[in-house]
């Protein structure tokens, strides 16, 4: 049962990500991207990572994609834009890197360990998944968390410098 769900989500992710780069109209591309992100969220749920799945939907599907659509509508892009002819070079390098990663995957220990054992270890935690993430965010990973806060301050100032009207005189 779970396996058939996995194949559905994984297959739909791959197909819609191909459509994301393959379709002509920017709006269709964005919608294909939305479908990719939703199916990836489904994969996360299969892995018992319901918090990551929720974040995936709220942040990517909710916030980022709406932003993309806004930009597309504001820019009023033409669908007949011509693209640089790089398909063959891109295909060549893409295939080389893909094969290299496949070889790496099959040679590493990921393939020999049973994925089911790994998921059981996670679900066996005494408290829920989300609580565990929250706890480690504020204890073990406190420093990165605080650093992100400072980065946001810088981003706010930066956005102002870039967007505010230049004061006269």
């Amino acid at each position: 049962m779970i396996q058939s769900f996995f194949f559905y989500f994984a297959g739909a992710t791959i197909i819609s990500s191909i459509l994301t780069v393959g379709l002509r109209s920017p709006v269709y591309c964005t919608l294909a991207l939305l479908s990719t992100l939703l199916h990836v969220a489904g994969l996360f749920i299969l892995l018992h990572a319901e918090f990551v799945a929720a974040i995936q939907i709220i942040v990517y599907a909710g916030a980022v994609l709406v932003l993309y659509l806004f930009v597309l509508m504001l820019l009023n892009l033409k669908t007949t834009e011509t693209f640089l002819k790089q398909t063959w070079i891109a295909l060549f390098f893409g295939v080389v890197i893909f094969v290299e990663i496949l070889i790496g995957l099959f040679k590493s220990s990921i393939m020999t360990t049973n994925p089911l054992e790994a998921t059981e270890a996670v679900t066996a935690a005494p408290i829920g998944n989300t609580e565990t993430i929250g706890l480690s965010l504020f204890t073990e990973y406190l420093l990165p968390f605080e650093v992100v806060g400072i980065i946001l301050l810088g981003a706010a100032v930066g956005a102002m410098v870039l967007a505010k009207k230049i004061p006269a005189g």
Partner: protein, 485 residues
């Protein structure tokens, strides 16, 4: 086991410099919007005073041998981190000094400018202390964030906006490559801590992941073939920002690279050494040959910077403690010569709004002091005794010879000859050509200070290299186990 954090056990004084820097940048931005009448020059001097105090504190840390890790090993303070923090802060001091005149001319967002300079410096200080892949990635983003805005600062100048967009897109692409590499390393080894990665047996997944991380870091330091953004961004950005961009992030990125390569993955040297050799040869040769054709002084310095990075990578390819020492020394020599050369360009373009090499013609008639300084800086970049650049190149090639990388040294020596040519073309312009406008060039006090400090630095590194070598050797103590191989 529920994770726990006891703040009482944590010695926060280890990250005191970062905390002070955060406070200083917040004070600068607060004064800027709370008291709009407060002179913006005073904000620059406030930043200078604060940065110098933090620098003194770090020198105190170094003298007392303070070291340790914080937050379950994510943040490390050791002599190497202190060296690079002092390096970044010296660069910040010189850049704030060289910005004052330039930014006064622009007249807008001056307070925010100094805030963003301090903000980037803070990111680079975190970068020097990054001790796992998560803090590496975050601090890398942190420091480039400020630069995205600083590069685009001249909003009425189309070239500046273009440079900002290019820098942003390539920066984001680079970050995604790095984080993909990190995920591969994590998948293959199950950890992102440098201290734990030291003991893993190399697997193919980890090597491919490492390759992705190197490619990302290669973009950050601007090594060929990841250099494409450098000339356009350097030309379009405000000149003080170019000067900052050409030295401080490179230094901080080398702090990370040294830590990752020489300490964490030193066991995999046979896997990465060919990569470093290739990058070094390509960067040196490409940078120097393309520099010959440049007409713009900022582009010339950009290509010569690519070539200098190639020289530094020779030390990395050597992969020994001596290579590490040589890199630190080289970065110091490059700092003073490069910031000095850019200061001369800033002085000149403040007056004339031009930075083409042809405009520098007859500089000696207009200001003998500037002409002499530029001569010294360019000769140091080329590696002429008795200046800092000569000792630095000697040191780095000696480290390579010790590891039998004779081929690299030969390529390096040939490149010195090529680089001599285009540096001397500029020298010929400023000493022999006739000026089109023979009015004197006024030099303001802050910029005069930058030129004097850089001159002293270049000469001190060349005449008394022993002091600085001892310093860099003490800073790379963590690599001392490498000397045995």
């Amino acid at each position: 086991m529920a994770p726990a954090l006891n703040l009482a056990d944590i010695d926060l004084s280890l990250m005191a410099p970062e905390l002070w820097m955060t406070l200083l940048s917040c004070i600068v931005i607060s004064i800027d919007f709370l008291f709009p009448k407060f002179g913006k020059d005073k904000l620059a001097y406030l930043s200078l005073a604060g940065t110098s105090l933090i620098c003194l504190q770090l020198i105190g840390f170094f003298a007392s041998g303070k070291s340790g890790t914080l937050f379950s090993g994510m943040f490390v303070l050791d002599p190497l981190a202190i060296f690079f923090k002092i390096f970044v802060l010296i660069a910040t001091l010189l850049i704030v000094l060289s910005s004052i005149d330039y930014i006064n001319k622009a007249k807008y967002f001056r307070g925010e400018y100094y805030f963003l300079i301090l903000f980037s410096a803070l990111g680079m200080m975190f970068m020097s202390s990054a001790n796992d892949f998560l803090s590496l990635y975050l601090s890398l983003e942190f420091s480039t964030f400020g630069f995205y805005v600083l590069v685009t600062y001249l909003r009425n100048d189309l070239r500046s906006s273009e440079a900002g967009i290019k820098f942003f897109i390539l920066g984001v692409l680079t970050s995604s490559i790095i984080i993909y590499g990190i995920s591969l390393v994590y998948g293959a080894t199950g950890t992102i801590r440098f201290s734990e990665l030291m003991n893993i047996t190399p697997s193919l997944g980890a090597i491919i992941g490492l390759l992705f991380i190197f490619i990302g870091l290669g973009y950050k330091i601007g090594a060929v073939p990841f250099h494409a953004w450098i000339p356009d961004v350097y030309e379009g950005a405000p000149t003080p920002v170019t000067s900052f961009l050409s030295i401080a992030p490179k230094g901080a990125a080398f702090a990370i690279t040294l830590r990752v390569i020489l300490s964490t993955f030193s066991g995999m040297r046979s896997d990465w050494v060919w990569f470093m050799v290739g990058l070094a040869v390509l960067s040196m040769t490409y940078g120097n040959i393309v520099a010959i054709a440049q007409k713009n002084m900022k582009r010339l310095l950009a290509y010569s910077g690519i070539a200098q990075i190639g020289n530094i990578l020779v030390g990395l390819a050597a992969g020994t403690k001596m290579g590490g020492d040589a890199i630190l020394f080289y970065l110091l020599a490059y700092l003073f010569a490069n910031v000095g050369a850019f200061a001369v360009v800033i002085i000149f373009s403040n007056l004339t709004d031009k930075d083409d090499i042809d405009d520098l013609a007859g500089l000696n008639r207009r200001s003998p002091f500037l002409a002499f300084s530029l001569l010294v800086f360019l000769l140091s970049l080329a590696g002429v005794p008795p200046l800092g650049g000569f000792i630095a190149k000697l040191y780095i090639f000696a480290a390579a010879i010790n590891q039998n990388l004779i081929f690299l040294v030969i390529v390096g020596l040939l490149n010195i000859v090529i680089s001599m040519y285009y540096y001397l073309v500029v020298v010929k312009k400023i000493y022999i050509a006739e000026p089109t406008d023979s009015s004197k060039i006024p030099i303001s006090l802050p910029l005069r200070a930058v030129v004097y400090i850089s001159l002293i630095g270049v000469f001190a590194l060349g005449v008394f290299p022993k002091t600085f070598m001892d310093w860099s050797m003490a800073a790379t103590e963590i690599f001392s186990n490498l000397a045995l191989k």
